[in-house]
């Protein structure tokens, strides 16, 4: 029971309190680039969640079982990126095969998940915080869900912004960044909830 409640705390911690986008400022590129519509944002969120979960877990295995046992932790950056790149390729093939309209709307952003720092960030945080395997699995999944949540919220807000009377100078990127800032302020309310 204790393990379960601990895992729930790990999950909430990375999904809300230490949200990758709004408190760690990772993964801003897709957050601003693919959040124009909720359905696209959700698709992007799902793709990132998938990649982040698999890479978080696989990198934990590689880091703890392979690299540490032969004393080559310094290789982790290269090894992690290799895992992430492979996973993105896998997702790209899958999405192209089964959701081709989604694939078209992603455009360049799908291969760019490779360089999405939220994913590498999560893998490195898991290593930094010294998580065990179960925690790593839950944390990486939670990180992905937190990203999805935030990017979908952003998508919803931006859909409504289309109809808002925005001053000309702030249209487009300007108002999006202001919105992101206000959302960050809102998410600061979570800080201190979990140690």
């Amino acid at each position: 029971m204790e393990t379960v409640s601990h895992l729930i705390l790990v999950f909430i911690s990375i999904a809300l309190v230490n949200n990758l986008v709004l408190t760690k400022f990772l993964g801003i590129c897709p957050y601003l680039g693919v959040s124009r519509r909720v359905d696209m944002a959700f698709g992007m969120g799902c793709a990132v969640t998938f990649v982040i979960t698999i890479s978080g877990t696989v990198t934990w295995i590689i880091n703890n079982l392979v690299l540490q046992s032969i004393g080559m932790e310094y290789l982790k950056y290269i090894a992690f990126i290799m895992v992430i790149a492979s996973m993105v390729q896998l997702v790209e093939m899958y999405v192209k095969k089964f959701f081709s309209s989604l694939y078209d709307s992603f455009g360049i952003f799908l291969p760019l998940i490779t360089t999405n720092c939220a994913i590498l960030g999560t893998c490195l945080f898991i290593d930094l915080w010294g998580y065990n395997f179960l925690e790593a699995l839950v944390a990486s999944f939670g990180g992905g869900l937190g990203f999805t949540l935030v990017i979908c919220m952003m998508g919803g807000i931006r859909e409504n912004l289309e109809w808002a009377d925005i001053p000309k100078a702030l249209k487009g990127a300007g108002i999006t960044l202001i919105t992101a800032g206000i959302m960050t302020l809102a998410f600061m309310g979570f800080s201190g909830m979990i140690k």
């Binding site: 046992s69 032969i70 080559m72 290789l75 090894a79 095969k97």
Partner: protein
């Protein structure tokens, strides 16, 4: 586990160990991805693949699309976008044209032709138009100029031309045949459909610089140089010229200079026959030619 022991043994020499470790990890993923590729491969149009292979592969995004892959797909669907690739340039356009089966483009080049010859001074009864200075907007305003067929001169075609091959000369779109590659972007940009792609089986090529299908009275009311549909050319050389409503058109399938052909060109009372191309003769003043003809008569 044996592999790990082996790696541990190798790790004495750190550099080689690092290399081998990464190599092993890499190979595992290569294996996974190869299996996935075999299972998840999407059959692609072979033409798209061929075009993609011909593209520079810089993924620069200059065409306005996500990368060379996206551009290849779009080009196969819409031939008009052939010239969008900046790094590829003219040679690439020719290659793509060949791949798309437009072999004609390789032997006799396809070039843009503007079917209007009226400069600003040739227009009669033009109203003053104060709206947005694009052809797309102007087209929506009735009476933006007297002629409902001719060139409005706001230069939508010049704006879309990636090769800088269209100049607006006195309010008339004029193709620079040294630069035109026949991509067809302007054909789609012109809301009045004045520009067509014609096969330059000869250079210079004769074109009819008018698109007005109105009868003589209307044409004389709004243009000094437009085709009035007298039918003289079709009478003199019925092989090459036809009348479509009140407009002379050239049958480019049978294009070729002959005695009757030259005579028909010479006799045109409205000077709306123009030789264009790289070897086109120096430009003459169409309006003056019409007046001269009228005086002469």
């Amino acid at each position: 586990m044996m592999v790990l022991n082996l790696l541990a043994a190798i790790s004495i020499s750190n550099v080689a160990g690092a290399g081998v470790t990464l190599l092993v990890i890499g190979l595992v993923f290569v294996l996974i991805l190869s299996i996935a590729y075999a299972k998840l491969r999407v059959e692609q149009d072979p033409t798209v693949e061929a075009v993609l292979a011909a593209l520079p592969g810089a993924n620069c995004g200059g065409c306005g699309l996500a990368g060379c892959g996206a551009y290849a797909e779009v080009v196969v669907a819409d031939h008009g976008l052939m010239g969008k690739c900046g790094p590829g340039g003219d040679t690439l356009v020719r290659e793509i044209a060949a791949l798309l089966g437009i072999e004609a483009a390789a032997s006799a080049p396809v070039r843009a032709v503007v079917h209007c010859g009226a400069k600003r001074a040739d227009l009669i009864n033009s109203t003053r138009y104060g709206g947005a200075a694009t052809c797309g907007e102007g087209q929506m305003v009735a009476g933006v100029m007297g002629c409902p067929y001719g060139c409005m001169g706001f230069g939508d075609c010049a704006a879309v031309c990636e090769f800088d091959a269209i100049d607006m000369v006195d309010g008339l779109a004029t193709v620079n045949y040294d630069k035109c590659v026949g991509c067809g972007a302007c054909v789609q940009a012109c809301p009045r459909g004045l520009i067509t792609l014609e096969k330059f089986s000869e250079d210079p090529l004769l074109i009819i610089t008018c698109s007005s299908r109105d009868k003589v009275k209307e044409v004389r009311g709004y243009c000094k140089v437009g085709c009035v549909g007298c039918g003289l050319c079709a009478k003199l050389d019925p092989n090459h010229f036809q009348m479509e409503q009140s407009l002379a058109v050239i049958d480019y399938e049978k294009y070729g200079r002959s005695e009757e052909f030259d005579k028909a060109v010479e006799k045109c009372p409205r000077a709306c026959m123009l030789f264009v191309g790289k070897k086109a003769p120096a430009e003459t003043n169409a309006a003056a030619a019409v007046e001269e003809y009228t005086d002469h008569r």
